[in-house]
Amino acid sequence: MSSILFDNVRVYLSGAFFPAQKVLIEKGKIAAVGSKVLKNVETVIDGQGKYLIPGLIDAHTHLGLTDHGYGPSGSDLTEWSEPITPHLRPLDGIKMRSDSLNDARRSGISVCMVSPGNANLIAGQCSILKTYGNSADVGLIVEQAGIKICLGEEPKHLLEGRKAFPTTRMGMAALLRETFMKAQDYHEVKQSKKGLRDRIIQMEALGPLLDGAVPLRAHAQRLEDIMAAIRLADEFKLKLVIEHGIEAHKVAGLLADKKIPVVLGPLLMAERSAETRDRIFECAVSLLDAGVEVALTCDYPGLPVETLRIAAAMAVQFGLDEKRALQCITETPAKILGIANRVGHIRKGYDADVGLFSGHPLDIRSKLEVLVIDGEIFKFN
């Protein structure tokens, strides 16, 4: 892995662009940032007239779980038959050579959270990884980073077809409550003197969630479903992140008080369903103004992964300032994912994840020319 120097480039540092800077990358980390970095390295990239920003982070994707164009053999998104599958682990389904990861890199995304699909009540575990590598383990940051649950229309649709309990919001809430209750009792017995011999893989998987080590990542679009997630989290004292949150702005104050972040999107949809009919592009700015932490997502394959920058640009179009819009796709998702100490900023000692754009990164005409992930260079010319 060679050392890289970005020379004479406009760098995004703590909320603003600073011209004529140098960024030195060594051993996969950012070694120095400033106007006076003096070091000769083999790879020098001239940044004249260009913009360097932290690698983008999408805190909610299904990258690698689907391999488009290969039909069912390429799809590992959703376990259709069971509503409760906390034991599913994304790493076992990610296909690193799928086009989607290539597309993610071409869009400037260096870090993603990958979770199982959007239809099981408890869909499985969430993993955070870099978007490169011969196997998913190469760029793995956190394997068990959350438990994904789904509320509302999509799990209802899946459950309807099973002709079994549950099929309503009442039943969905009750089954989630029942599962968490069982998991509490299971872990209490496990930690007691008596202990237990017959482990249950689903219950094991829920341990870190009940301990508060990882958050509940709740797919919830509508107000009612967001409230259902909050109710559950309160009841079982769980950390909570709202995923999608199309109507989150309606309870922005409550989310701010409870310090519940929102991974917002995708908003840019042509066809709206019953539960996305109230979506507005002002959602991000309303939430941020109320004090809620917001990351923007394109929910790949909900939207093409290339639209992450567009989501941030559209938030600007509808009232958000550029600084906070960029934060929504860099440092805030890093914070929500609990990895803000190593990604999301161009800062000495941080992972060498940077993207070089031909112009302002929120100008959709700008092109990504170089992406570096952990010091690994990807050039797009």
């Binding site: 229309e153 209802k156 309807e160 002709k163 079994a164 309990f165 549950p166 099929t167 309503t168 919001r169 009442m170 039943g171 969905m172 809430a173 009750a174 409550r177 029942e178 209750m181 069982k182 009792d185 209490e188 017995v189 007691s192 008596k194 107000l223 009612e224 409230m227 259902a228 109710r231 309606k250 309870v251 409550l254 369903s273 019953a274 539960e275």
Partner: protein, 389 residues
């Protein structure tokens, strides 16, 4: 914010009287003065500085307590949406005491603004009648953006269902039960299990909670009511028999054939939520439905409320259903009580709802004319002292 309603006719202490002034302050009714009583001088310093005050002249109008419907399914299936919002029945669950209507409330539902325009301010919301044990009912007011704002009680009763519905649903699935005997047996079996569970739970190292049985404990302990969906006389009596056996606080919902066993129900001091009488006899168990039921049961000493069973008939129809009972011989004061203080009493809320009285919730509706005249309109609706229409 203080609201003062002046003049007009008020339904107060069980009859229509002339209103002097009615004050709503901080969500509550703080003063009721009749026109016949000399107005007291306003207390010096009674009004805090900065408190705004709104005076509503009700001359020629009727000032009523907000109506209460003690049996609805409002917002469980948001109107005009379809399957996405169909959250009424867990029709594959059979025994689902663990499910809560509260978890499926949708406060955006247009039906809630219909409720307000019909002068209805409080509703009990229950799961449907597909299951012998259907789930937990809640009580809400007709305002608020999220369920927590509207909530009076998250869980007030356990829905049980007798008669045609459960046996039809499970016979279609080729499952037990397909008879009335089977339905009763399922209910009895689970109540029995819950009794045993309650004993088992007292042991120290008990760490194996069962969510269904947990949900049935408050019912056995009398903390929530048994809300028994029963139309026919025999189904009503089956519900009563089970309630006696397990010492449950029973409310009969629908009670369509109640008038046929009025003597028995009167002797038992039964609580009945009657209706929707304003519907057609679409199934055999409705064949004896009549608007006489409410009067006959009241005459026998039962506690009786009238219900729309929304969405079976729309919630705005509550006062019309009461008016139809008057057409069938019920005095108008009792008809009004059957949509105000009686349902409040059945729901255990008679200390705060269903009447205009000092200290009660500020749920007041100003009608353009007599509230049982279908030409009258609810002009202003106050819930917890705030104007919501």
């Amino acid at each position: 914010m203080r609201v003062i309603l002046e003049k007009g006719t008020i339904f107060y202490q069980g009859k229509f009287q002339q209103l002097g002034r009615l004050v709503l302050d901080h969500g509550k009714i703080t003063e009721v003065t009749l026109a016949s009583v000399k107005a007291k001088k306003p207390k010096v310093g009674g009004k805090e500085k900065g408190d705004s005050e709104k005076i509503v002249n009700c001359d020629g109008k009727y000032v009523m307590p907000g109506f209460v419907d003690a049996h609805t399914h409002i917002t469980l299936e948001e109107e005009g949406i379809g399957w996405v919002d169909a959250d009424l029945n867990e029709q594959f669950g059979l025994v689902t005491p663990q499910v809560r209507a509260f978890d499926a409330l949708k406060m955006r539902d247009q039906a809630l603004s219909d409720a307000r325009s019909g002068g209805v301010t409080t509703m009990m919301v229950a799961p449907g009648s597909a299951n012998p044990i259907g789930g937990q009912a809640c009580i809400i007011k007709a305002h608020g953006q999220i369920a927590e704002e509207a909530s009076i009680r998250e869980s007030c009763g356990m829905k049980l269902a007798f008669g045609e519905n459960p046996k039809r649903i499970y016979a279609e699935q080729k499952q037990f039960p397909s008879t009335r005997m089977g339905t009763a047996a399922v209910i009895r079996e689970w109540l029995m299990k819950a009794q045993d569970y309650s004993k088992k739970k007292k042991s120290k190292d008990f760490k194996d909670r069962d969510i269904k049985l947990e949900a049935l404990l408050p019912l056995l302990e009398g903390k929530i009511q048994a809300r028994a969906h029963a139309h026919t006389a025999d189904d009503i009596i089956t519900a009563y028999r089970i309630a006696q056996e397990f010492n449950l606080d029973l409310v009969i919902d629908h009670c369509t054939e109640g008038h046929l066993i009025a003597k028995e129900l009167g002797r038992w001091k039964a609580k009945a939520v009657v209706g929707p009488t304003f519907s057609c006899r679409v199934k055999p168990e409705l064949r004896h439905r009549t608007f006489d039921t409410v009067r006959v049961l009241l005459d026998e000493g039962c506690m009786v409320a009238i219900t729309t069973d929304h969405p079976v008939i729309p919630i705005e129809g509550l006062s019309l259903a009461a008016a139809l009972c008057v057409r069938h011989g019920l005095e108008e004061e009792r008809a009004i009580k059957a949509i105000t203080e009686y349902p409040a009493a059945i729901l255990g809320l008679d200390k705060r709802l269903g009447k205009i009285e000092t200290g009660f919730d500020g749920d007041v509706v100003v009608w353009s004319g007599h509230p049982l005249d279908s030409r009258s309109k609810a002009e202003s609706v106050f819930i917890d002292g705030a104007r919501v229409l």
